[in-house]
């Protein structure tokens, strides 16, 4: 037994070295490209992005990201080339004879070649990436992210290599193996992409982002693994990151185990000949026909009008799909020699399924009216995807409130009887119903309850079983029950959870932000001018910014927020200031800003105060926040607060300011 293990180890190390040496050329090319790439990255990207040589932590860190992503791209491409080269011995009858006859296990042959090849690609990648890190990394956060990206690159190399190795064992020729390896990646992401476009253009609420921003896209795209992971780690999408990390590791392990099994069971006579797995080319032919058909159908559909687009889609789907099917069949069979019937049946089956599914979607299939049950939801991200007002709510009462808001929308969809949907329907629906809406307060609805771009409702449901459901309604319909929605939004925005989420700093015990003390504090007075029908910043007063004062100020603000029974109005104050058409809010209010500055150097300049700052925290203080206003008065800012601010059209703007300053 000991002798067998020792012999296996000896054979493994021998074959590992041979596989590694066989990839010498690839390794040298990659090393040279990496070194040239690093210089080019840093120089060219610096010039393009900043028109100067940068020496700033954040700029350098970003350059480091870009350089590592380029290195990952090189590593992924070379992994495909190297894996096909390393396992090409399976596709040659002569080499199959040699490797089949030498005294070693097939599993040893597989693992030695796999690890030898991976090492040959990984080594230059690791060295090059660490050089990049050394040149561009100046702080711990960048160090952590760049190190993660290097790890993701290695996972990507292992995933692509093991996947290509498995496909090599399933194929008789290197050409077939390469076609299939690339096809699986392209088919999967392509079909998802086009289908998500079709669905999002058909069904109200469905948005392509909800698929492309989830780890679903990574399932069968090993070529994209490192880039998806980079995207998630840079964007701090922790859940998506960990889900994808776990999946990529499981995928790679699955490929290795399957590859080992394929190595043991492979029929050596398939070299230079046929596929070792008979159904594989049939599945790929069907998959490519689906991808091409969807592309052809979706591209041609807009040439029709209304529901006829669905028939244009079906016609082009069949035409382009069948063309692609025939081409790939000719390639795999090297002519018309191969068995045609099984592939034809697979093509016919998938065509029928895709067309049935697409036509089925015209009914909405329940997707358009689906609202998850609050009891199945652990949290909901609701609000504006692109702004600062999106928060994740986990309070059961708020979850219920948000699902009620969602139901107001789906009920209107049900009531409108807009079915059947068709490709492009969603856009038409949006433009036909875009009208101004007013709230029960008399102002515009979006002024009081600003959502995404003042118009859209975004819901992301995180289910208790781990899945995510997302709906985005980028339009308004007349039939939405705005009165009910308004009441529900008020309830949500008055909740303690919302107060907590929207003012995280207020709830801190000290005045520090990321360990940094405030550098400045400022009080701005905002007033409404009837003459110009707009809000104006009436004054800026620098406050004390010692920690003790700021801590007391935060404590007073916190008490006011907790006591505020109409907290939803805070959103409107801020929104009204930036919205010149505001008609609702005509009250004086204050904005207290606390500024923080660190040594990283990418400061922002505040034109109204003249401060350079790294981070800023703001709190809106209406006149009813007595604790805060009394605290300011007690600290000597009474004049600033009590000075008359005139809300009339008797003054020109210039006098308005003069008048104010004369009174301070």
């Amino acid at each position: 037994m000991t002798s067998t293990i020792s012999s296996n180890n000896k054979h493994f190390s021998k074959l590992f070295k041979w596989a590694f040496r066989r990839n010498r050329a690839i390794m040298i090319v990659f090393s040279v490209l990496m070194l040239i790439g690093i210089v080019i990255d840093v120089q060219i990207l610096t010039t393009i992005a900043y028109s100067r040589v940068v020496n700033n932590t954040d700029e350098l860190g970003t350059l480091g990201y870009a350089s590592i992503i380029i290195a990952q791209l090189g590593a992924i491409i070379l992994s495909l080339i190297s894996a096909n080269h390393t396992f090409s011995f399976l596709h040659n009858k002569r080499s199959t004879d040699m490797f089949g006859a030498i005294p070693c296990k097939r599993s040893t042959l597989f693992f030695s070649h796999l690890l030898g090849g991976i090492s040959a690609v990984a080594l230059p990648f690791i060295i090059g990436s660490f050089i990049v890190m050394g040149l561009t990394c100046r702080s711990v956060p960048y160090f952590a992210i760049q190190l993660s990206m290097i790890l993701f690159g290695l996972i990507g190399i292992a995933a692509v290599y093991s996947f290509t190795a498995l496909i090599s064992y399933c194929c008789g020729t290197t050409l077939d193996s390469t076609i299939i390896t690339l096809s699986v990646n392209a088919i999967y992401i392509g079909v998802i992409g086009i289908f998500s476009y079709i669905m999002s253009s058909m069904i109200p609420g469905v948005n392509s982002d909800q698929i492309f921003n989830t780890p679903i896209v990574t399932l069968l795209t090993p070529f994209g693994f490192p880039f998806f992971l980079d995207y998630y780690v840079i964007g701090s999408q922790t859940t998506a990151l960990w889900t994808t990390v776990i999946w990529t590791v499981l995928f790679t392990a699955g490929m290795v185990v399957s590859g080992c099994f394929a190595a043991k069971t492979r029929r050596a006579e398939t070299a230079q000949n046929e596929f070792n797995i008979k159904w594989l080319p049939v599945a790929i032919k069907a998959g490519i026909s689906v991808l091409a058909g969807l592309f052809g159908g979706a591209a041609a559909a807009p040439t029709g009008s209304g529901f006829s687009r669905m028939f244009v889609f079906a016609f082009w789907y069949i035409l382009v799909g069948f063309g692609a099917f025939i081409i790939i069949h000719l390639i795999f069979s090297r002519g018309m020699k191969g068995k045609f019937l099984p592939s034809l049946l697979a093509y016919a089956g998938t065509t029928a399924a895709v067309l049935a599914l697409t036509f089925g979607l015209t009914t909405g299939m329940g997707i358009d009216t689906y609202v998850p049950s609050p009891s199945n939801v652990s949290s909901i991200t609701f609000g504006n995807d692109y702004g600062s007002s999106t928060y994740t709510y986990s309070d059961p009462e708020n979850i219920k409130t948000i699902t009620e808001i969602h139901k107001c929308i789906t009920e209107s969809i049900e009531k409108d009887s807009v079915r059947p949907y068709y490709i492009g329907f969603n856009n038409e629906y949006y433009y036909n119903t875009d009208e101004e809406l007013y709230s029960s307060y008399g102002g515009k609805f979006e002024d009081l309850f600003p959502l995404s771009d003042n118009t859209s409702f975004d819901f992301t449901y995180n289910k208790k079983i781990g899945f995510t459901t997302k709906r985005v309604y980028g339009y308004r319909s007349k039939s939405f029950d705005y009165q009910k929605i308004e009441e529900l939004l008020k309830k949500l925005y008055n909740s303690e959870e919302y107060k907590r989420l929207s003012n995280p700093l207020i709830w801190k015990e000290d005045a520090k932000l990321d360990g940094k003390s405030p550098s400045h504090a400022n009080l701005a007075v905002i007033a409404y001018n009837d003459k110009t029908s707009s809000y104006m910043q009436a004054s800026n007063i620098e406050l004390k910014y010692d920690e003790q004062f700021v801590k007391g100020l935060m404590s007073a603000i916190k008490k006011d927020i907790i006591d505020d029974k109409e907290y939803y109005r805070i959103r409107s104050f801020n929104s009204a200031y930036y919205n010149s058409n505001s008609t609702l809010m005509r009250e004086k209010y204050y904005v207290i800003s606390i500024y923080y500055k660190d040594q990283r150097g990418n400061d922002t300049y505040d034109y109204s105060t003249g401060y350079n700052y790294t981070s800023r925290v703001e709190a809106i203080i209406p006149e009813n926040y007595t604790n805060t206003l009394n605290y300011l008065r007690a600290n000597g800012y009474g004049n600033a607060l009590s000075a008359p601010v005139v809300f009339s059209n008797n003054y020109d703007d210039d006098y308005y300011y003069d008048d104010y300053y004369n009174n301070v």
């Binding site: 006859a101 005294p103 029929r267 050596a268």
Partner: protein
């Protein structure tokens, strides 16, 4: 114990079946090759000779049955494969490999590798150890493969069309080296070849395969003695059924001279012919090629059938 070990040291083909898609290459093939013998595997094109060698060497997995060396299956059995070396009809070498680098590759796989023998063979064969093998001629590549095989000193050596592309001098040299290997190492040699003239010189056993089945498997002398050619001239026309007792493979007539190919015991055949009072009669020895043709004719594989 000793008897059991000796009995185990042989190569056994047990009911081997191998299919390539719908085509059956080997069907229920069984025979045994004793230790230390030189076994010539002959057969028509596509009869399954190379397939059989690939199954024995562990390249192919049989669909049914097993190839056993010393009582153990060869497939996925590194321990047994260490005793066995296979040179295929087109030996493979890495693209940039030299004889030296290929020797380095094989050295670790075969514990029986004999460095002194390799050095000696490098002196015998006209091959530069530092030259790239893929640039060599077909014959030179075959010589390189054989040098490595002989240096391994295997207990079993499987050679597929080893004489192809070799000049007569090298063919003689190879036959001599094979015989040396057998005598020094008691190696069992299996040679699949269409070159029956060369096989006749080295083989002591012969196996004839046709359409995936074994037609004949015998000691070579026995095979040759079991079939006879008789030339005879008879004064009178022979009556119907006079040789019904003989197993006549073929009869050819040229003028009055008749040539019989007859299976069976020599003296009995001679007696039966003489009983018809020939004016001339001669028993001629058969070459292996003639035995092959005769046997193949017997199973319906002859020129007339092929042309049809």
């Amino acid at each position: 114990m000793f008897i059991a070990e000796v009995a185990n040291r042989m190569l056994e083909i047990k009911n081997i079946t191998k299919k390539f898609g719908d085509k059956t290459a080997l069907e229920n093939l069984s025979f045994t090759i004793p230790e230390g013998s030189v076994f010539g595997l002959i057969g028509s094109n596509g009869s399954g000779k190379s397939t059989l060698l690939r199954i024995i060497s562990g390249v192919f997995r049989a669909d049914g049955g097993t190839a056993e060396i010393d009582g153990e299956s060869t497939f996925e059995n590194p321990g047994i494969k260490e005793k066995c070396f296979f040179i295929s009809d087109y030996p493979y070498f890495y693209n940039n490999s030299t004889l030296d680098s290929m020797a380095a590759f094989y050295r670790d796989f075969y514990p029986s590798w004999d460095e002194a023998k390799f050095a000696k063979l490098c002196g015998i064969f006209p091959i530069n150890k530092k030259d790239r093998i893929v640039n060599m001629s077909k014959g030179m590549q075959r010589q390189a493969a054989l040098m490595i095989a002989l240096s391994v000193c295997p207990k079993y050596i499987l050679l597929d069309e080893i004489f192809d592309g070799l000049d007569p001098v090298v063919r003689q040299l190879i036959k001599k080296l094979i015989m040396e290997l057998v005598s020094d190492n008691n190696t069992t040699v299996i040679i699949a070849s269409h070159n029956l003239r060369e096989l006749e010189d080295v083989c002591d056993h012969i196996g004839l395969i046709h359409k995936g089945g074994i037609v004949m498997e015998k000691d070579l002398d026995e095979a040759k003695l079991g079939i006879h050619r008789v030339q005879a001239v008879f004064e009178n026309e022979l009556g119907e059924g006079v040789f019904n007792d003989l197993e006549i493979v073929s009869i050819k007539k040229q003028g009055r001279m008749m040539t019989f190919t007859i299976k069976g015991d020599g003296p009995a055949i001679e007696q039966a012919i003489k009983a018809q009072n020939p004016v001339y009669m001669e028993m001629l020895p058969l070459t292996l090629e003639e035995v092959f043709i005769s046997e193949m004719e017997a199973v319906g594989y002859d020129i007339d059938n092929i042309l049809e």
